[in-house]
């Protein structure tokens, strides 16, 4: 059984292999400043040039990269346009009008009654075929959308439905992943993470049968991004 003896034995062996003296219970930890600093003040390593564009170009790159990985993107002028865009997309794709949305004021509080959609908010269940969720940020570098779990964003909404519609605000599109970590530290406090923080780069896929790529393995078959121009 795993216990403190195993912990001490493993750490002891690591220290021995690294040529460090054994750590006794009463000796103070010998963590070098280099390690403590790195953990306290995380620094970005190398950021690719493509992630360091002016904001307008970042948005173009985000759209290009997301499209390359089989997501679809539509730009709308304001949050009020979201319900109509969702209705249009579902009609175009001939998808069900029953939609499960995140219980997030920015989504569930929209004027859905102007559409013919059947809207409910909460976690996703086996019968939910379409979801609409907010996002935390998006990254131009690889067309990646970042979503986080929380009371207003049940995690199952990202994975269970066959079609995931995610709302991205243009002001939240950044160049690189490192920018997102900076924003997350700002909103959560250093070292804090939500239970789950997910990077979504295109819909679910698999190449496990004869190396032929198929979309919609266990997660969504379609990822539709509604990009709200709020800048």
């Amino acid at each position: 059984m795993s216990n403190s003896t195993s912990r001490d034995a493993i750490l002891g062996r690591i220290r021995h292999s690294l040529g460090r003296p054994a750590q006794m219970p009463d000796t103070p930890p010998d963590t070098p400043d280099e390690v403590t600093d790195r953990l306290k003040n995380p620094v970005a390593n190398l950021i690719p040039a493509r992630a360091q564009l002016p904001h307008a170009q970042q948005i173009d790159l985000f759209i290009k990269m997301a499209t390359q990985v089989s997501a679809t993107v539509t730009r709308v002028g304001s949050p009020d346009d979201i319900p109509r865009e969702v209705a249009r997309y579902l009609a175009d794709q001939n998808l069900p009008a029953r939609v499960r949305v995140a219980p997030d004021a920015g989504i569930s509080g929209l004027a859905w009654d102007q559409t013919m959609l059947d809207i409910s908010a909460g976690i996703a269940g086996p019968e939910d075929a379409v979801s609409v969720t907010p996002s935390f940020a998006a990254v131009a570098e690889t067309g990646t959308v970042m979503v986080r779990s929380g009371p207003d964003h049940p995690y199952t909404l990202n994975l269970l439905p066959d079609t995931h519609i995610v709302v991205v605000h243009a002001s939240r599109v950044t160049g690189c992943y490192e920018d997102v970590w900076a924003r997350l530290r700002q909103s959560e406090g250093h070292g804090n993470m939500p239970r789950t923080f997910l990077w979504v780069t295109g819909p679910s896929r698999t190449g496990d049968i004869e190396q032929t790529i198929q979309l919609g393995a266990h997660g969504p078959r379609r990822l539709h991004i509604v990009l709200v121009d709020d800048t």
Partner: protein, 497 residues
């Protein structure tokens, strides 16, 4: 074709996979004659290699990112005790548990205890090579727990009672007709005349079947591509989304990870992520990269109620400070096997244990002992391609030579291997002669190969290479090409400075 598969897996009655690595020669011989396997291996090029080249060509900073990734891992390994304790403290601060396990047995027992404490009947699994390493499925099944693999490839080989033959494409050796047979035999109560001809039909059926499992699971076990010390987070990288559903819909999420998966910060993980998917599948980023920290928060509407990290040593702490420390940088991208002429000829099962290809030839002897894996370090043409493509710049050929030297010292090798090695050592210590001889050999092989592009036999190579086609060296040796390139470069730069 009856390749010798690890026996314990086939019978499902032993915690640790029994290695057939000592039989590499026999396994390889059988694999070369297995037409169906050869057809499957033919797909490596378009499936992985071409895509990798394209992804790398699209990112000018790729080489510099590799250097950074190496630097991060080296720094972490030099401070492994500090980063692991920081990771542990942060998991605990977020309400999770860390279980330190010395070996496979302890890890399996720890996981079993968590299952028993929760009165669990069913265990769902996301893809995890560590769980293969510790023989977890067989162990849990023996304890009457139902274990279901959720990754499509893992699910297929689970139904076929086989070990994975590739670390990221476990069912790469299986054809769609064989998948259809397994599905018909397993998924009862469905129309026996249903169409299962195409990958899409098969995927749709698997998806449906898996949904039922997802909603019934007690325990969800995933691996971890990274552990982040700064936040106490485990990270999985997947394309299917199965790992996410596994860990979200279960009451308990257990992440099984080996010690060396830890990195200091979110930024450090991000740097390595930039080289991981590109090296593995040639994607710029995998579909899902999931950062999991602790159990669900009090206000959350879904997510697991408990979060455990099973931290496995299994011999790795002994690799630190040795010739094999660099191997602990490995991020399991599989680029080395995708590009290895030996793997490409014999596939993964011939290697006889969990980890195939060049990384397996180095890692397997470290983990289960050279006696159990005798011939693996010889499963190489020393073409150097593995090191060239390894994003973590692991000197795989050098390490295989280390093992060969150790094997040689122990007189485990057959006499032909020993003499070959002696010859090599003689040449290697005389660089000019070595260069001339390898250059000569390349020219000679090209002539022997004629227009066919492959050779049936290679003088001096002996053993299993006698029956396989060696790729004809493409003209010059790497060294010759490199030297020429350097000359051209200095010409362009206006001569040597």
């Amino acid at each position: 074709m009856h390749r010798a598969l690890p026996v314990a897996i086939r019978k499902g009655n032993n915690a640790m996979h029994v290695s057939t690595s000592p039989k590499f020669r026999e396994n390889a011989h059988d694999a070369l004659l297995d037409q169906s396997l050869q057809r499957a291996l033919g797909r490596l090029k378009t499936g992985f290699k071409d895509k990798r080249s394209a992804a790398i060509a699209a990112l000018p900073e790729f080489e510099a990112l590799r250097d950074k990734a190496v630097e991060i891992k080296n720094h972490t390994l030099e401070n492994l005790d500090h980063y692991l304790t920081a990771f542990e403290a942060n998991v605990k601060a977020n309400g999770g548990h860390v279980h330190w396990c010395k070996d496979s047995e302890e890890a399996c027992q720890t996981i079993l205890k968590i299952c028993r404490d929760k009165d669990a009947k069913s265990v769902l699994k996301g893809k995890s090579m560590i769980s293969e390493e510790i023989g977890l499925n067989a162990f849990l099944e023996k304890q009457d727990l139902q274990v279901v693999e959720t990754d499509l490839g893992e699910y297929i080989i689970q139904l076929r009672h086989e070990p994975p033959s590739h670390i990221i494409a476990p069912a790469i050796h299986v054809h769609k007709e064989q998948v259809a047979d397994s599905f018909r035999a397993t998924h009862k109560g469905r129309d026996p005349n249903r169409v299962l001809d195409e990958p899409r039909d098969l995927l749709d059926e698997a998806r449906e079947v898996m949904r039922e499992h997802f909603f019934a699971a007690d325990i969800g076990i995933t691996g971890a591509n990274f552990l982040i010390a700064e936040t106490g987070t485990s990270v999985i990288v997947t394309n299917e989304g199965n790992g996410d559903l596994t860990q979200t819909l279960s009451r308990v999420h257990i992440a099984v990870a080996s010690l060396e998966k830890v990195v200091p910060t979110l930024e450090d993980a991000s740097t390595i992520l930039r080289v991981l998917a590109r090296s593995a599948t040639g994607q710029e980023m995998s579909s899902y990269t999931t950062f999991s920290t602790g159990p669900r928060r009090a206000e959350d509407l879904d997510g697991p109620q408990e979060y455990h990290v099973v931290l496995l040593d299994n011999g790795r702490s002994n690799m630190l400070g040795t010739d094999f420390q660099d191997m602990l940088r490995c991020i399991r991208c599989a680029a080395c096997m995708n590009h290895c002429p030996v793997y490409g000829a014999v596939g993964g099962h011939a290697y006889g244990w969990v980890y195939p290809g060049p990384m397996g030839s180095v890692l397997t002897p470290s983990l289960i002992g050279i006696n159990q894996s005798g011939h693996l370090p010889n499963a190489s043409t020393f073409c150097g391609k593995c090191e060239e493509v390894c994003p973590m710049r692991i000197p795989l050929p050098k390490m295989m030579r280390h093992w060969r030297e150790r094997e040689f010292e122990k007189h485990l090798g057959a006499s032909s291997v020993r003499y070959g090695l002696k010859g090599w050592a003689f040449m290697a210590s005389r660089p000019r002669l070595y260069r001339a001889a390898t250059g000569l050999a390349a020219r000679l092989l090209r002539i022997l190969g004629g227009g066919r592009g492959a050779l049936r036999s290679l003088p001096f190579a002996g053993g299993w290479t006698q029956i396989r086609d060696l790729p004809v060296p493409e003209g010059k040796t790497f060294k010759q090409l490199w030297e020429e390139q350097q000359k051209n470069k200095s010409r362009q730069d206006g001569g040597p400075k």
